[in-house]
Symmetry: D4
Subunit: 152 residues, 8 copies
């Protein structure tokens, strides 16, 4: 397989995506990364800005979330591997939703989180083929499953 | 359709399921309800109790979450409608995972939560065919979609 | 097959459904009929009445249409045969939408309309296994495909 | 994803497709657009011209509609996003059929129409991830979901 | 599994279906048999009789074949096992079509024919889980796979 | 869509495939054609020659037919359009099998045959989006559905 | 869900199936058990006995294995849960094949084996939602996932 | 089809993969080969090395097997043809698991083994489109199904 498609879902307030992408690029791995829109304000406002403002907060959010879904669902459906990162802040229900969505589609799921979150994430982790604590482990997995060599 | 199958996912610390089931039964609606195991301790310990203890917390949780998944995934796959309830406590990532899983399978999704959770749940709500605030609204929806009559 | 499930989609202002159901029952055909909600006002208002009013007309309609979709999609997915009736009034885009939806799911599609509508319905008719002009012809088809006898 | 495939279904009497394609090209968006045959006469006559004339109008239309379906269904199935435009004239049942077909296949649906059509299109809109009024809004959505940047 | 559904496709000029059904009933096997319409004239004329005559032979046949397809496809899709019988007369392309259709749906295929037809049926036989020469062998297979006992 | 994949199934004793391919190439149509193995002897003997001889004719044929199925099924599953040609000789059950297989997979089916075969092919034709009599009509269809222009 | 369907695959030389079925019945669990044919000689000879003898050992086995597949695949596809038992003798590749087959279909997989087999079964166990050592643990799992109560 | 994707599963202690790949390359066949990780130690240790050590042997193996599954399942799902080789040593349940997994996905399965293994592999062989004894036969099959010419 010439290119592996990896969708990086979840937490948007740290630079874990950049770490994974930079390290993968440094290793010259044949991976095409994709992600949801990670600009929080853009992600909140896209529906209202593009399709017209909404005074009612529910519909304001609903409009934006659906526009984002065009991107997210398309890219998850195209992905070979879906990595979902949970941080220590916010509800992050969209991350868990993506994990469930990817799981039902039979995607290989990698979950990335601090061990302190093990208990509340147990159902998500149970659906995963790997549970990592650090972005570099995700890169190690990608290198291993793509190249077939294990660096000890 | 003689019987509608409805899976009630999510929050396990209030009596919303009983409310929905009691009101539906009082209306004599032809609904077969199902749910995840709602006994929190049982749900945590089932893997270790049945299959053998684990000293490592991660595997203790993993074992239990997988046993629960036998129930949860089977019932979601059989369901016509999946209702997911979010409360004001705990991470509830399993609820959001179920919503994503049900959504990818094309199930009709109803989300039930307080308006105060609208913003963090916007991606989940965007996948739903109805967003309710009270259990009685879920019953009203079931009555309407099954009977085809609207009680005003 | 002990029971055939037939969904009757489309026009709601004439009694074509009753005609089909009455004649089928008179013939004692083992058919379980279902249909969208055919009470026009209920179908328009169900979202707002059950889930809360909306001042914005778009969301008022959107809320209702989604609640109706819980019924419609579930029943189409369960159906063996989908009959779609087009009348001479109104836009009836929901009928054509149902026909496309049923067609993509591989359901046997029967379209029922006056010959005067042949040209604008040509794409819908092209996806059908039968195009009838009168409700009694639909009953004749049901009797034939279920019983295997042709009454001349 | 290097290229997004977008099918532009529906109304064929205004230049909305050209507007979307021109603006997308001007932005250098990596989109491969496709569409049904938009030459009305060709679309009507293709069956009879290629496969032989039909004196009966129903079969004349049927033959053509099926040849068109070879193009339309193939392209919808390959598409990531299906945009369906409704104008103010004609029955346009083929547009609604395409919307239903795309929806059942799980495609991201964008509906484009004047607000005056909101009520009769409510079931179609309810299946969409975005409802736009102007072609430029469709381009804005494509730019946003592909590039991930929101231009305010 | 309380009931096995078996569709008996193909040749309609000998009594092989009755043989299989009688012997199965004599053994009290829990099988629900179904079949295409086996009245040749009815099968030819159903479209024209029910939906209106056609002077053009192609459309006369087309109309009838589609009405028959409502029965045939529905029953094949519901079947667990599809038995296809080839006789020594006629083209029987509908039988081979049903075999291909059933095979693509993953149904268990049993082909029933005289050894003299082995060569022209090799592609059909290659898709089958059993190739029988006599109806009684089909009954023996049904008894074996349902009861799990082999009568020698 | 940059390339359309067309599988040419059926009759192997006339040059209809070459006609279609030559005319398509002359028109510079972006089509990738594929076909079953059309060397009759090779198709019969491939199993025995590659995997070892068989004295029993049934298994000789079975072995070969399965090796051919590796090619045929893979290419049908990749195809956008499946053209099936029926000639005036031989049983051609493999052609009808391919038509049924392609139909169940939802491929666009074009059937090519002389009008004298209309009656025995009515079930196959009923599953097709076009029924042509001459190879040049297939090329005309490909040109039309790919280019969107109708040459009268 | 009124009845859970559980397929018991694998080892046929001990009474583990009877243990599971007896204990489940004693608990009055609403489970419909099924299994491959567990009479070793019948399973080997069914093809030749029913469809005719084969002198070549490969085809003798092939014929029988395919007849058994009619039973096995149908029952696995109908199952909600597939339990696969590995013993300490024989190759048992059919058991591992069934596990892979069930896994690809998304069935809930429970593997039952002695800890001494952990290493060679690691890929099979990795696809399972539970790995048990004793039949009684399988019953405990069934009781828990069906009843939702954990007996400690 | 410009490139055929072939996954080479199973036995890792002889050079059969290299033989197939070398001979295919020498013939300039357009095949993209892939395989599980064939470095036995790496395959055993990858989970623990990348994601952290495990003192419990079961989880040590489980972690590794799941990481390997990311590679294996992705590549099997992308493959057109899956070749599974069984040798004369070890349990090789992962090979049989892959065969079942590939079979349920509808992949063309080729099994490669010594005739001495025919009886225990009968269920696996029964799901295959070809059963070969030597790697060169697999290459001959690939050449034949891709090129369409039979070299005698």
């Amino acid at each position: 397989m010439s290119t592996w498609r990896v969708f990086l879902s979840g937490e948007i307030h740290t630079d874990w995506r950049e770490t994974i992408m930079d390290q993968s690029n440094a290793l010259d791995l044949p991976v095409e990364f994709s992600a949801p829109v990670t600009d929080h304000a853009a992600s909140d406002d896209c529906g209202a800005v593009i399709l017209g403002d909404e005074s009612n907060k529910f519909w304001y959010d609903n409009k934006g979330a659906k526009v984002n879904a065009i991107r997210t669902r398309t890219l998850i459906e195209k992905a070979d591997i879906v990595v979902v990162r949970f941080g220590d802040k916010y509800k992050q229900w969209n991350a868990a939703f993506d994990a469930g969505y990817a799981s039902a589609l039979g995607k290989s799921l990698i979950v990335l989180h601090d061990p302190s979150l093990t208990h509340p994430l147990k159902e998500v982790d149970a659906a995963a083929l790997a549970v990592a604590e650090k972005p570099s482990q995700v890169v190690d997995i990608l290198r291993y499953v793509i190249r077939g060599h294990l660096y000890r």
